[in-house]
């Protein structure tokens, strides 16, 4: 389901998911005890005590066993290079073999990983102390030089890093001692720890340039077999830096593109975990008795893009008319069987701490749509809309929009184009088309990437000076209440003026064999934010 987004790994701020987590874990409370790490409080929001959570998720962890896990895709593009990771299968593989300086936790903060402490005074100069005694799979010890190399290689165009736009913020990464280093950013950014938790920023050994055959990381599993487009097998790394972890002897990773095959494989016992189960298949999985689904609330969304430089989408009344034509309830119900959260035409999910809950929910209102169409002088107009399976749910959304359009007195002609090549050939290239945006770690990152006037993926070509000013101001705003107000205003601007319509946020659904324990949602992605391999065990 997750397409070739550059930044799909850099997702995830979704802080209010605590409530959601409690719900999905049943009665199990989530105790997030502070660990003994020396961390400035402002850096790491919450730290979860590993053993506590593990116990609550299904008894005492056991060692041993092997599982096979299926994600949604695999191809010759499968990679062992963290910088090139772009799809769910890659993220899982990277998190199996590598570790980052930090890692995402279930509360959407970042826990320190290879970094033992992270300190900053000004959010621009960051000081890292590395965990000692960490070794790469080939026996080499982890040094600050490895980190410097790993981070700076993203800036080399020849590496074709998926995280290059993020790495552009690194002004300087230097070794400051035998076990310490400093990252200096172009400008302050409080979100650096979460950014570094993405798969792309995992740490490789200094000087590694050939990633075609071997992965030499510090992660929980060592590579036993890697065959692009076929399978990846990892065996337990006995020297993993988290004592006792991981639990499984062996994890095999495959990609099964066809959803019904994936679910069948789960039900027949050929795989033990499956990423991205369709809402319609959940009934079948649950009925099996041996398997269950895990729901992860996310801020993943598929949105309608109305280019501000195209006809007729440059007309603000047309844009508003279309927004009123979005039958959000029906989309949630019919397309996602309820596994979705209604959205309000802006990218901030209701569970987010900066979610503007005073902004009235835009209703499905054909009369208002008619009014705005008339005002734009576009009643009866025919407009082509481009949809693709690449943007999940967009084809069916387009079909629903077409129906609303007929009621409102206009016609949407649906052009369904193949997933293949969608992002390079169609996305943002038509006046009316669909996009699909993965959850983001911080609103600043989300807005900077997709909504700022000069954003690299300003999907609708939206230019709004007021929005840009607010965004810059919010970065440097120390006062939480003022900052929150700024984000509220920005949401309102997007909802009212921007040429995107976001009907719903989609929940992620994973299927798993009930013998797999220790499995809980980490909202940065399916399969525990792709990092299940480190956490789960088999209760066979």
């Amino acid at each position: 389901m997750h397409n070739n987004k550059i930044d799909a790994a850099l997702r995830g701020h979704h802080s209010g998911s605590r409530r959601a987590l409690l719900k999905s874990l049943g009665a199990a409370g989530l105790v997030t005890a502070a660990s003994g790490l020396a961390l400035p409080a402002h850096v790491l929001a919450q730290l979860s005590d590993e053993s506590t959570t593990a116990n609550q998720a299904g008894g005492k962890p056991k060692h041993g066993g092997r599982i096979r896990v299926a994600t949604t895709s695999m191809s010759t593009k499968d990679t062992l290079d963290p910088a090139k990771a772009s799809l769910s299968t890659d993220y899982v593989r990277i998190y199996m073999f590598y570790s980052g300086l930090t890692q995402f936790n279930r509360e959407l903060g970042a826990d320190p990983a290879l970094a033992e402490t992270i300190e900053t005074e000004d959010q621009q100069n960051w000081h890292f102390t590395l965990r000692s005694g960490v070794t790469f799979h080939n026996g080499k010890s982890l040094t600050p030089q490895d980190v410097v190399y790993s981070l700076l290689r993203h800036k080399d165009p020849a590496v074709t890093s998926r995280a290059a736009p993020i790495a552009a913020q690194f002004q300087e990464v230097v070794v400051t001692g035998p076990n310490t280093l400093r990252i200096t950013l172009n400008a302050p950014n409080a979100d650096l720890p979460v950014m570094l938790a993405s798969a792309n920023f995992c740490i490789v050994a200094d000087g590694t340039t050939d990633f075609t055959q071997t992965a030499n990381g510090t992660g929980p599993y060592q590579q036993k077999e890697f065959s692009a487009g076929v399978r990846t097998i990892g065996v337990r790394n006995p020297n993993f830096w988290k004592p006792g972890k991981p639990y499984l002897d062996e994890v095999e990773l495959v990609g099964i593109a066809d959803e019904s095959s994936r679910v069948n494989a789960l039900l027949s016992g050929d795989i033990q975990m499956a990423l991205a189960v369709n809402p319609r298949s959940t009934k079948r999985v649950k009925r099996s008795g041996t398997c269950d689904v895990l729901q992860t609330e996310s801020s993943l969304y598929t949105n309608l893009i109305m280019r501000q430089d195209g006809y007729p989408t440059s007309n603000p009344d047309f844009v508003l008319a279309v927004k009123y034509m979005m039958n959000r309830e029906l989309i949630k119900r019919a397309l996602f069987r309820g596994y979705a959260t209604i959205a309000n035409d802006h990218p901030v999910a209701p569970s987010h701490k900066y979610f503007n809950h005073e902004l009235p929910q835009r209703p499905y209102d054909i009369d208002r749509a008619k009014f705005h169409l008339k005002k734009a002088g576009m009643s009866g107009i025919r407009v082509p809309v481009f949809a693709s399976p690449a943007a999940e749910g967009s084809v069916d959304m387009a079909a629903l929009l077409q129906l609303s359009g007929i009621e409102a007195g206009m016609h949407f002609g649906i052009n369904r184009v193949p997933s293949d090549g969608y992002w390079s050939n169609h996305w943002m290239k038509h006046p009316l088309g669909f996009g699909n945006i993965n959850p983001r770690v911080s609103l600043d990152e989300l807005f900077s990437l997709f909504y700022k006037s000069d954003a690299p993926w300003n999907e609708s070509g939206w230019q709004n000076a007021q929005f840009d000013e607010l965004l810059i101001a919010a970065r440097g705003e120390g006062d939480e209440i003022k900052r929150k107000q700024m984000y509220w205003d920005m949401q309102e601007l997007i909802a009212d003026k921007c040429g995107v319509s976001i009907p719903v946020f989609m929940n992620l659904i994973d299927g798993y064999d009930k013998r797999v324990k220790g499995f809980y949602p980490i909202p940065t992605g399916g399969l525990m934010g792709y990092s299940f391999a480190e956490h789960v065990w088999l209760d066979a």
């Binding site: 319609r280 079948r284 084809v395 649906i414 184009v417």
Partner: protein, 275 residues
């Protein structure tokens, strides 16, 4: 025409009736449908037969009956046209090739081999990636994909016939190549080519459904019967009519077409043999 029908065996009559039925659906189905094909009528998905909706509902709650009525035309007309194009073009080129100078024959055969050697699914995949998926493109791609196959079959038959005594006699008689092709060879390969047409019709139906499996076939909200099977495949485990009925529809269409062709052929061939 009526007499042909009367002389048919029972299977042929059954086939003709089915073909007539599906042609009727293909022509008038969209007008007969109680709902529009894309309208979501129910919250419940994969409803069984006999509820509020005759054939239940599909994977997002649309009326299966209406969708089948609407989708049949794609499954009938695209393959019909494509198979007709492929077979007639293939046969004509084969005839031309069979009576031409061996060198011309060879060149045509090489070129056809080059074309046919590209697997049809892969060819379709590349062409659709290049030109997008629309009904005319699908028609063109499927016709091109199956034409060289028809050619090969027709040529193998034609070369066989052309080496027979009666053709050699006609040739030495000084008959024109057109005469040889049309009067001597064509009638003798027509029946196997009709069988080939029947199979090719089926192939196109199946290629279309394969393409829909890969997301490249008839594009939503339109859907041919193969797409209906594909999009509802997750309902198979619960025996949803949304997947079973279109599959049965495809089967009856293809079987009916072949029964008709078989019985037409039987009328000519077996009758002569007195079987």
């Amino acid at each position: 025409m009526m007499s042909v029908f009367k002389s048919m065996p029972v299977s042929g009559k059954l086939g003709s009736a089915l073909v007539a039925f599906w042609l009727f659906i293909a022509l008038f189905g969209p007008w007969l449908a109680p709902h529009t094909a894309s309208e979501i009528v129910a919250y419940d998905v994969f409803e069984p037969i006999g509820g509020e909706y005759v054939l239940g509902t599909d994977y997002i709650g649309r009326d299966v009956f209406s969708r089948i009525l609407d989708g049949t035309r794609f499954t009938i007309f695209i393959p019909l046209l494509a198979a007709a194009l492929a077979c007639s073009a293939g046969t004509l080129i084969a005839l031309y090739s069979a009576v031409s100078h061996p060198r011309t024959d060879e060149i045509i055969a090489r070129f056809m081999d080059a074309l046919i050697s590209i697997p049809s699914k892969i060819f379709s995949l590349v062409m659709i990636a290049a030109f997008g998926s629309s009904v005319p493109i699908l028609l063109t791609i499927t016709a091109i994909s199956y034409m060289p196959g028809s050619f090969r079959i027709a040529r193998a038959l034609a070369v066989n016939v052309a080496s027979m005594d009666f053709v050699t006699v006609a040739r030495t008689r000084g008959e024109s190549r057109l005469y040889l092709a049309v009067k001597e060879i064509l009638p003798n390969i027509l029946h196997p080519m009709l069988a080939d047409f029947g199979l090719r019709f089926v192939f196109v139906v199946l290629l279309l459904s394969s393409l829909s499996f890969l997301g490249l076939g008839v594009q939503p909200p339109e859907a041919d019967l193969g797409s209906l099977v594909r999009e509802n495949i997750s309902g198979l485990a619960e025996g949803a009519p949304a997947v079973i009925v279109p599959a049965i529809a495809i089967a009856t269409i293809t079987i009916a077409v072949n029964l008709v062709i078989d019985s037409l052929r039987g009328g000519a061939t077996y009758a002569a043999k007195g079987k």
